[in-house]
Every structure is written in structure tokens, then in C-alpha cells.
Amino acid sequence: MHRDSYRPGPPAEIAAEPAGDRWTLLFVRELRHAPEKVWAALTDPARLREWAPFLADRDLGAPGAATLTLVDGETAVAHPATVRRAEPPHLLEYTWGDDLLRWELTPSGTGTRLLLRHTLGERGMVPMVAAGWHLCLDVADHLLAGDPVGPIRGAEAKDFGWAELRDAYAERLDGRPPRA
């Protein structure tokens, strides 16, 4: 698909759960591809760079330290990460700076039901983070289908409906428009 024709799909199923003094975003996404294929997209640096918000310095499919570099236009900031659990093709868990990301893959028909749990500092961030992952996972789905639109990361997300998604997710979580 040509990049300019890409439009975000409808909002996914999400929830926000307290996690001690922090919050966890739960984000569910059905992908049209088998768990093995999704696993490779989640762990292989060459695939990650085509859809993820960060670049990985190594394959994330094995426990231990890694560096995940956040890319935003011309700037790139490296953040330490630790892969805590890697059980292909079902469970991947790693820290990224202060955040914790846990990916659970379940076969669903011929595809995969992906559950992302992203633990972060403040409740108010949840809709923004959900909007970011929505765009990333849309891009990943296109990539896996052999119909890439190219990575959408950093401030560029705003050109592809990030703010509208953020507002839609805030409304889903809180049952009201975010700036009412």
C-alpha cells in the first residue's frame, strides 16, 4: 500500500489496570498471521526497524541486556532494556527504560491474538501510548502481509491520525471526550 493511502483501522480493545503506583495498558490486536511469524516481527532487529518505535541492537528472542533506541526524526536516544522472558512463540517480556512491555501471543484461527501489556508511570499517558501502539501494529500487520507502508515513528505519527486515535482511546477508557 502506498504510504499516503494508509489510514488507521478502528480503535482496538484496550483497558487500563493499576499496577502498584503505576498503570498498565492492555492492548488487544488480532493479526492475520501465525504466532511464529508475529514472534519474528517482535524480536528480529531487521523486522523491528520496519515497524517498532525503537531500533534494537540485538535479537530480543533471548533473555539478557539489550539497547532499544528511540527514533524521532533526526534524533535517536538509546535506552537500556532487559529481556526478562522469551518463550517463542508465546511470551516476550522486556523492560525499556522505566517501562515494562509484555507481549502474549495466542493462536486465533489462522492468525494470532496479540495482547500487549505496557506498564508505565501515569494513568493520563495510557491513551497516548495506546494510539502509538495502534499505528505501530497497523504498520506491522501491513509488513507481515507483504504490503508494507514503511515505519511510522516519532512525531510523524501525528501525520497519520495519532491525535484522533488518542482521543478515541481516551473516550473508550473514560467514557467521555478527553478535553470536555
Partner: protein, 101 residues
């Protein structure tokens, strides 16, 4: 004063964030809207600014609201003080020169 403070301020994005916070305290979402930057980038830079004492935050209705903490800037200002005196000394010299004219 530690070298770290200059490393923190050397990053242009962080200076843009500080410029915005100098005008008024902001949440992450407000900075994202105002600066045309991505949320992950704003969050990561705010973390650095918070850990090095340039900003503090308070929590209000689910959001963290960030503001500039002048204490870290006083350290930078203190480091600059002898250089300002150097400048003042040159001005004194100029004045003495003009007195003789």
C-alpha cells in the same frame, strides 16, 4: 557544578521543552501538542530533566504536571559568574580608558 548539567542542556529538544515549561507548567500531552514532538520522545527527555533536577512534577487528576526547577539553573548560573566578572573587568578597563581621553 557537574558536567552533567551541560550534557543535559546540550540536547536541543530538552532546551525546547524547558523553554515551553518556563512559560507555564505542562503535562506530557500539552508538550506533545505544543512542540510537534512524539509522546515517547517527550517522555524520555522529561525523565532525564527530572532525574537531573531541571524539572519537578506534581500529579493532578491522572496527569503529571511538569515545571522548571530553578535550583538546577542556579548551579549553571554560578558556574558562569566568574566569566561575567571577566566581562565586567573589561568594561571597567574601557571606562578607565575613556576617562583618560
Amino acid at each position: 557544578m557537574s558536567v552533567d548539567a551541560f550534557a543535559v542542556l546540550a540536547e536541543p529538544t530538552r532546551r525546547r521543552i524547558l523553554d515551553a515549561l518556563r512559560r507555564s507548567e505542562c503535562s506530557v500531552g500539552e508538550l506533545v501538542d505544543a512542540l510537534g514532538m512524539s509522546q515517547p520522545a517527550v517522555s524520555k527527555h522529561l525523565k532525564v530533566l527530572r532525574e537531573t533536577g531541571f524539572v519537578t512534577c506534581r500529579t493532578a487528576a491522572q496527569h503529571r504536571i511538569y515545571r522548571v526547577d530553578p535550583r538546577a539553573f542556579r548551579a549553571v548560573d554560578g558556574w558562569l559568574a566568574p566569566y561575567r566578572e571577566m566581562w565586567a573587568a573589561h568594561l571597567d578597563a574601557l571606562e578607565r580608558h575613556l576617562d583618560k581621553e
